[in-house]
Amino acid sequence: MPNNLVSSELRIVTAGIGPIDDALINQSSIPTTIQWRLPSDPSLAPILSSIALSDAVTKANEKALTCLTSARPHLIGIDTAANAVDLEKGTFLHAGPPIEWERTSGPLRGALIGAALLENSDETPEGAIRLFENGKFKIEPCHHRGAVGPMAGVVSHSMPMFVIEDSITGRRAYCTLNEGLGKVLRFGAYSKEVIDRLKWIEKVLAPIMHETINAGDPIELYPIVSEALQMGDECHNRNRAGTSLFIRAIGSNLIQLKRPSSDLAACFSFITSNDHFFLNLMMPAGKLAADSARDIPGSTIVVAMARNGTDFGIRLSGTGDEWFTGPCAVPKGLLFPGYGPEDANPDLGDSTIAETVGVGGFAMAAAPAIVKFVGGTSDLALTSTQAMYDITVGEHPLFRLPSLNFRGTPVGIDAALVCRTCQVPFVNTGIAGKQAGVGQIGAGLVEPPIKCFNDGLKRYGEVSKVWLTSQ
């Protein structure tokens, strides 16, 4: 049908000055008005205009969205970091963008020391520090090896890792097994109980889990995520339902293993007593989806968001391997008894892969219970998710939100939309103690620095200049 604006009833949206709206209201025509904000870096205006005008960018972002939402991750087993990510002795992986030892924060240092102690029982914390300082021990982001890690995200050569495979692309991603809450390595604790637990995970839990997984078909992870969203999880800071569904999926095979029943019981109760066990499965599942959307020329979609406790970093699909970083903020939220805001470390972890693929803060509407972390009401859960539709290019076909009439979660963060609207992604997170060894001290929300998005888009403008004009 040809354009019939002149004979249709007007349905008007407005952006800009008030008198335009007033004149419409005086004529009984009530417009919908947007809350426009000046971009935090107004000099981006020309590149933002070129992006918005380009059909090729729209197509590139559609392609990125398809990749992000069509991965089908399966848990296929467990392997050591040495095999899984080819991790040599003396190299340690960590969460977030690359960082030098000198700039690492307390919890990341603690976790690196802990991993060094785990790998060499003769080592002392002081000795480990020296080896990191003099460069004998190397550190590298998990993301650079197809892995992700929650909080400090530290991985060393002997640690067991979940192996997740995308049945569509055959691509794999990896993550360690979740250690539980409290004093744990990922929050920078490295006392004997921490190391002992890691050893137990390596010697008892990992082999039993591997056998259990292999006793049945590979475990499809996205159906668990989808169902967990309907059961009150947002799959980043609340994984109670996901963990329950997971143990249900493996329970029968687990108890049939020919292993000492005390070991099987210990594994069973380790998983059921740790609500976040599923987080370490959801994260590599998300990593597979995000990685499949990488390196699409011209795409402005965010394919990684990660923090190392010092810097918050993002990667864009259209700008290759480069990280764009800004200072990590200290999360705002609720602290465990005995801790104050001064004890909190700036945000850390690769778990923001959740938000990158459309869950976590983006699925807050699914998890009204945890808006209390930020003193909010269940309405905040809805409005947080709704605000994310303004900075994303699509809706997830599998992850649906009961409270929004089963609308798909917002997915595919468009850096251009973030820069334009000054609306940064909502990120749910745990809060680590600032001192190495303290562990988790709370949970809350954190704002990524807008600088990463501005810098990313500026770089995008440089690398895509030729591409944009050739399309």
């Binding site: 354009n3 949206v13 952006a15 419409l24 933002l48 219970a369 949970a443």
Partner: protein
């Protein structure tokens, strides 16, 4: 310090709700430490860390709630427990604001949610294009009120619109009317069958008001932006508007007004016009002998309708002259007047002849000048002079201080969006100017309809009471001035000495 530890069996609260309850308790005066948590292994250990004796709690399960409070007195602890109970109770019953409609931050998403067919943008120029492009991609037509959009961006936006069969009005589109609703600056017009496509807002307002007073109603006004008919843009929006209005059963006649178009664009538009079923009257303001009043008359004639001669009211003061200073809020009215006066009485300087057009520089000029006060160089981020008459008032106040009498020509534009009392806003300044210069004259062209919110008759009365000559037709006002200038050419040169 007293310690209180209690266990409540088989209750469940989400851990976050409990965190919050704990934090609230800790803030109470006299409460030193507290833990309200489900009795998980971790929390039991935490209890010991805080100096409570967890074994006192006996056998626990994770469905039990621990309440541990350390306070100054039993009284304080009891009050704290009461507050805790109230808080936990309110978690399940607290009611909150119903969640209203989502306020969007980007236009594309808002178009989508509202299923809108028109997006109106009045943002700073450099930030218009992303919003406009998104709105177009979501299927809405776009009106861009802002100026400061580059011509390259205009080209691309209009190409994008064309590929989706959508219309872009503007950039710098001040006036439109669709479905009886005035958009931007627009007059309260009676409904009818004539539709106007205009590359100029004030041109469209003047033409529609002239037709209105002749009893000829208006169906739609589509603004296309001042550059649309340049060869760079190629009349993209004009062509789309022509097609849309040709398909519109409510439109029986189309008026097209613009500055003279580029050569290529002119051929292109004429070709399309010949293919339309609806007759089109073209008025190219700036071509010799063309003005908006003549276009209005021509439309009436082709429709076989009577054209009422535009009203005027003269003060009766003798035509004593002086150099011309034209202070317009409407750009097209300024150029129409400039053209008419130049054709008859010789060249008139415009704003481009000023290095910096300050009010002082303007009143210091000794030649004939006509200024568009809505020009970017004059507004510099201030509201349009149709909304804010301060600049014009300042210039008139400065004229009052100059000894030379002047011929002062100005427009008053009424309608939605304009100043609520544009004549009143400059009345004191005009009064001062005319009283201090008995030989000066002030001539106004008033654009408006009798239904406009400012009151057409009131505006006329304000001006005539001050001793202004008032015209309904800007062209007639300009012609009268031209004759004055011609008659008094050179007479007042000495006054500037």
């Amino acid at each position: 310090m007293l310690k209180h530890l209690e266990l409540r069996r088989d209750v469940y609260y989400d851990s976050v709700i409990l965190f919050q309850a704990s934090s609230q308790l800790r803030e109470l005066d006299g409460i030193d430490e507290c833990l309200v948590a489900m009795a998980t292994e971790l929390n039991i250990r935490l209890l010991d860390d805080l100096g409570f004796k967890s074994e006192e709690a006996g056998n626990t399960s994770t469905s039990d709630l621990i309440i541990a409070v350390q306070g100054e007195s039993q009284e304080i602890i009891s009050r704290a427990i009461q507050i805790l109970d109230t808080n936990l109770e309110s978690q399940s019953t607290s009611c909150s604001e119903p969640h209203g409609t989502q306020v969007h931050r980007s236009l594309g998403k808002a178009v989508c949610t509202a299923n809108a067919n028109l997006a109106i943008i009045s943002l700073p120029g450099p930030h218009v294009t992303p919003e406009a492009a998104d709105a177009l991609r979501e299927g809405a037509n776009v009106m861009i009120f802002s100026d400061g959009v580059s011509i390259e961006e205009e080209q691309k936006l209009k190409a994008l619109a064309a590929s989706h069969d959508l219309l872009v009005m503007g950039p710098d589109c001040g006036t439109a009317q669709l479905g009886g609703i005035g958009l931007g600056f627009c007059n309260d017009l009676s409904p009818g069958q004539v539709s106007i496509i205009a590359a100029s807002g004030t041109g469209a307002q003047h033409l529609s008001c002239l037709l209105d007073t002749s009893g000829i109603g208006i169906s739609s006004i589509i603004g296309v932006g001042g550059r649309d008919m340049s060869d760079e843009i190629g009349g993209s929006s004009t062509l789309q508007a022509l097609r849309m209005l040709d398909n519109d059963t409510a439109t029986t006649h189309i008026a097209l007004i613009s500055k003279p178009p580029g050569k290529k664009t002119s051929r292109r538009i004429n070709k399309i016009i010949r293919s339309l079923e609806t007759p089109v009257t073209i008025g190219l303001i700036g071509d010799p002998g063309v003005d908006l009043t003549k276009v209005a008359r021509k439309i009436a004639t082709t429709q076989n309708l009577p054209f009422r001669k535009p009203r005027l009211k003269l003060s009766g003061a003798p035509a004593t002259g002086g150099q011309l200073i034209g202070l317009f809020s409407g750009g097209t009215l300024a150029s129409e007047a400039g053209q008419i006066i130049t054709d008859t009485a010789g060249p008139v300087a415009g704003i481009d002849t000023f290095e910096i057009p300050t009010p002082q520089a303007i009143v210091d000029r000794k030649d004939n000048v006509i200024l568009d006060l809505g020009d970017d160089r004059m507004t510099m981020g201030k509201p349009h002079p149709m909304i804010d008459g301060t600049l014009r008032r300042r210039i008139i106040e400065k004229l009052t201080l100059k000894p030379a009498p002047r011929l002062l020509l100005f427009d008053i534009i009424l309608g939605f969006g304009s100043n609520p009392d544009p004549a009143g806003e400059i009345a004191d300044a005009l009064d001062g100017f005319l009283r201090s210069h008995p030989k000066a004259r002030a001539i106004a062209s008033v654009v408006g309809t009798s239904r406009d919110p400012q009151g057409l008759d009131q505006q006329w009365q304000t001006l005539t009471a001050l001793g202004c000559d008032v015209y309904e037709s800007n062209a007639e006002a300009a012609s009268a001035i031209a004759l004055d200038l011609l008659a008094n050419n050179g007479k007042f040169e000495d006054a500037h000495a």
